[in-house]
Symmetry: D2
Subunit: 172 residues, 4 copies
């Protein structure tokens, strides 16, 4: 960010585009909401999947989150089409261990709701429940190096948002 | 954050306490608003000090910001009363160059409004306009090792908030 | 960091002090090394506890890490002695869910070795193996609101350091 | 980072590639060293440009820094060739004010040397001395939305590295 201050896309358009890009990559918002539910169900007995879904949507309305989603998905798609240059292409195709820019984008998402989402993000990124397992299967030629981390970060941020609104912490 | 999920202090009380701690340390919200105005005046000709002040107040309503303010001011006060142990005390009293936890707390504030406030924070922390100059004068025995960074971070965050609301970027 | 540029404590002294503070709070470096071993054993079959311990020590030689350790332990001790003011005292004593400055300090540790340690940090902070379980038991009057997160961050950073040195990623 | 742990490119090759990409985009390491010199000259009277250059090179040997440089430059080049999709393309071409992923990558660089480089980064990003002014001129069709922030972050990190090695803080 160092330049022009005029926006050409409306806020609502940017939100809708973000939802479309996520759908286009095969992820349903409901699946992200299920991750949030997985993270919180033992701590908030009255929690519903609908409430999780609503919080996921609110997270996706934040501009910083949209920026990270669009940039990450763009890089995944370019890697799939082999339109990145080496050695970057190889790092993304192999989801290389020492390449941490995917986590860096996830942090940008998590930070919007404060530091309390960090733990939940790390936990589901390692345990890989639900949609995260599918995104990590690499046998079908699809590349989700960024998206799997981003989906985890959105789910963890929705947990933080729930916690802040209920004045109750997410589990960790 | 790893534990109890019940809050004993209401949201409004916590906000009021945060304002009191800042006032107790000799900083007026108007002075923070002036920093925001300083950062933005060349880019938003119609900007008023009142609008800056309103944005400063909204920043201070965020829980993550309150946590950082209370923790930082507490450490400043303990350093003033020599109630910290060495070598930590000496680092804070001298505002030592390689001690960066004050910047770490500032980042926690800045991140809430996304990465676009970073530049403004760095700029005023070096140029030290207005209240920042006073907080850095060390001749009076007061210690503001944390507060000067925190005040800069609040002002820069208010700039980011302004930019997001006007759909217009803060200058950098 | 905004001020004096002269150091009064030598680098070696600061390292030794950091070790002493950790020991004084009842944590052995070997216990931190065990967390690193727990995180990596399935991925690096030849890994030894000694190698983990060596990496933990190297992490603790970083100035940014030392700053976070000393600041966090100081706040824990002040909370134990009830020398912090309300409402901050209560947040730390209860390890309140919406207080995230402990995670903020942990991030300062993790960032030194890049973003790849994030996941491991989140994972052990939730699973709480070994020493982390003990630090979270609150029945004995001790307060480790900061230390438990810091110990997890040191262990995860040692994992990242291992990964970078072996040119091999930590698991996640 | 969630996957393969084998590296196909040697550490030295990755360093050399990083230098080539920076050169290909029209930036000389000497110009980055001049930014570091600009930041530090008033505080370290004996400082030479050679010492700054050496510190810039050491910063560029860090894997996290290389990841950020390659990813950022790749995105700049794709934007120049119009190979990104809308609305992302437009944000990068216009260097849009509310797009902060360039700052997010810069933070990943800065964090490796701790929080003390933050202020210097923000300062030169706003004052835009030397090469930063050239990178921000948009009249020639070149796009450096990421590179200008990255160059500033490398220069500020080299300042932090200098400070840590001389046990003396960078100015702020």
């Amino acid at each position: 960010m160092t330049g022009s201050t005029q926006n050409c896309v409306s806020e609502e358009e940017l939100y809708q585009t973000t939802l479309q890009w996520i759908a286009k990559r095969g992820v349903e918002l409901k699946e992200i909401a299920e991750l949030t539910f997985f993270l919180q169900k033992d701590y908030l007995p009255s929690l519903t999947l609908e409430e999780c879904l609503e919080n996921v949507k609110q997270v996706l309305k934040k501009r910083e989150v949209q920026n990270a989603v669009l940039t990450g998905i763009q890089l995944d798609m370019l890697a799939e089409r082999r339109q990145l240059e080496e050695p970057l292409l190889d790092m993304l195709v192999r989801d290389e261990g020492l390449y941490g820019i995917d986590e860096v984008l996830s942090m940008a998402i998590l930070n919007v709701y404060g530091s309390i989402g960090l733990t939940n993000y790390g936990y589901i990124d390692r345990v890989k429940p639900g949609v995260l397992k599918r995104l990590n299967d690499k046998h079908d030629g699809e590349i989700h190096t960024f998206l799997d981390d981003i989906v985890g970060a959105i789910a963890a941020s929705a947990s933080s948002r729930l916690a802040h609104n209920r004045k109750q912490a997410p589990p960790d």
